[in-house]
């Protein structure tokens, strides 16, 4: 995996999050507490600053710095979750170059931290189908968009949205949407399995 592509990925992700900050918060206002855009924008902006300041040399180091920064700057639920994902990805990137294995490690990190499984209307419902498609060799913007859109139909059982019960149905999950940005920009940046 190319370290420059990975850095570009982080830059594009930050841009995408910041462009959609208000939208992400609006989604969170509907079924959470309205801060997901603010949280992610604050965190990714700090990631940019950290990457520029430290200019890490390896893919593992980029992921590690990203993960540590997100953990210490985001807070809320998404901070430890995205943070754990990237820290797990860093560990995996130390021993393999496989994007699939790295993303799977990230998902494991999220699941371990949040004690959630697919189908609970969380960011996991973006990560899991994306990894499945990547494994099957058919990951595309469309598969990502489909996964994100599907969270509308799910009833939340984890995170703040779970307090809404049935009323959470019909709304996109904000974390699933921000995770959609993560994978879209991964494709844009040309970070691929080979």
């Amino acid at each position: 995996m190319n370290v420059e592509a990975v850095k570009k990925w982080m830059i594009l992700f930050t841009e995408k999050v910041n462009q959609n900050k208000a939208y992400l918060s609006e989604l969170d206002r509907a079924i959470g507490d309205g801060d997901h855009g603010m949280n992610m924008a604050r965190g990714t902006t700090e990631v940019m600053a950290a990457l520029e300041a430290k200019n890490p040399a390896t893919v593992a180091d980029v992921f590690k710095l990203t993960g540590m920064t997100l953990v210490s700057k985001v807070g809320g639920a998404s901070g430890p979750l995205y943070g754990s994902a990237f820290i797990s990805m860093a560990k995996e990137a130390g021993t393999t170059d496989s994007l699939l294995a790295i993303l799977q490690a990230g998902l494991n990190g999220i699941e371990k931290r949040g004690q959630a499984v697919p189908g609970e209307k969380t960011m996991i419902d973006t990560w899991q189908p994306v990894i499945k498609a990547l494994a099957a060799g058919n990951l595309s913007e469309q598969t990502i968009a489909d996964a994100v859109a599907h969270t509308k139909e799910i009833k939340a059982t984890k995170g703040r949205a779970s307090y809404l019960g049935e009323r959470s149905i019909g709304h996109l999950d904000p974390g699933a949407v921000s995770s959609g940005y993560l994978f879209e920009t991964m494709l844009e940046a040309g970070v691929t399995n080979d």
Binding site: D35, M38, N39, S72, G75, A77, G114, K158, R160
Partner: protein, 329 residues
């Protein structure tokens, strides 16, 4: 949004600066953090720490002081503080007897405090914790995030704080925490939503004649919206839900906390307290401890919550009654 603030992004920092300015005799802020820590810590006692998003003032910083918390970690408005901030609090508060964390049951709080615990243990600090889930508005089930932690947390601070001051060990505090938390239950009613300064509009809106039962302290939705009713009727609804949850038995002993959510005047809180008192008396309960006021708010939300604690042991009442040196208890 009409608020006495400067930059919305700076509210927590400005507030903490004002807090430290006003209460420099009791507390200080760990520089560059959201951690408020007590000035004179009793040596060799277990350090009790709590925290969460800001917007619940006087919680949690107002409960830092002798007999309650050793430190409070104040995150951004309605957003859990990060593990490194919590770790700072753990490191500074630890007196060698270990650190006990009181965590409200929200995914974010649980995960961030949990990560901080992992980090602290890497530094050989003994850390344990309790998750408070007193809000009976939310159904508990292994398939959900579980009940939320709300105003009842203040009772946990008070009782564990008194025990820690009394020299209880980390293991003893953990055991006490596990006994009291299932005996603390809360239910709230909102007359208006809360407006977080950076969001700029209320988390939800209610019509001029509408209320909502069972809301959380971050604007999480409740279980029913209905027309505003007299205080007696609100008390009736809330007490009946608590009755069901506790399975009241005559002659049991309880403590109560009527908690204003931010913009409800004391006049209304005392009227409600009066109605609650009559209902509890009618159930044949002994109410040995009473507290009324703003303790765990939701910024400027109008409404209040009722917390009851079943006093299974006399000791718990003693712990509630022992004086503290804090700003807000």
């Amino acid at each position: 949004m009409k608020k006495i603030i400067n930059q919305p992004e700076e509210v927590v920092n400005d507030m903490l600066e004002g807090f430290v300015y006003a209460h420099s005799d009791l507390i200080e802020r760990i520089p560059e953090t959201g951690v408020i820590i007590r000035k004179q810590e009793t040596p060799h006692k277990v350090a009790l720490i709590s925290g969460g998003g800001s917007g619940h003032e006087p919680a949690h910083a107002g409960f830092v002081g002798a007999g309650m918390l050793s430190a409070a970690v104040c995150g951004p408005v309605f957003t859990s503080p990060t593990p490194d901030q919590i770790l700072e609090a753990i490191q500074k508060a630890d007196n060698g007897a270990g650190v006990f964390m009181v965590i409200k049951n929200y995914s974010g709080d649980v995960m961030n405090f949990d990560m901080a615990k992992e980090l602290a243990e890497m530094e050989d600090i003994a850390v344990d914790f309790i998750i408070v889930d007193d809000d009976i508005a939310v159904e508990d089930s292994t398939y959900t995030a579980g009940k939320r932690g709300v105003a009842g947390t203040v009772f946990v601070h008070k009782i564990l704080g008194a025990a820690a001051e009394n020299g209880a060990s980390l293991t003893e505090i953990k055991a006490l925490a596990e006994k009291i938390v299932p005996n603390i239950k809360t239910l709230g009613v909102a007359l208006s939503g809360a407006t977080a300064p950076e969001v700029g509009k209320p988390g939800f809106t209610l019509a001029e004649d509408e209320i909502e039962f069972g809301v959380g302290i971050h604007g999480e939705p409740g279980y029913r919206r209905e027309k505003i009713a007299p205080s007696k009727a609100l008390a009736q609804e809330i007490v009946s839900k608590l009755k069901e949850a506790f399975q009241f038995k005559p002659d049991e002993h309880y403590g109560l906390l009527v908690n204003g959510l931010g913009s409800t005047p004391l006049m209304e809180q005392y009227i409600f307290t009066n109605d609650v008192g009559s209902l509890l008396a009618a159930e044949g309960l002994n109410v040995d401890f009473k507290k009324v006021g703003d303790f765990m708010t939701s910024i400027d939300m109008a409404g209040l919550s009722l917390t009851l604690i079943r006093l299974e042991e006399n000791k718990w009442l003693d712990y509630l009654n022992v004086p503290t040196k804090t700003i807000a208890w």
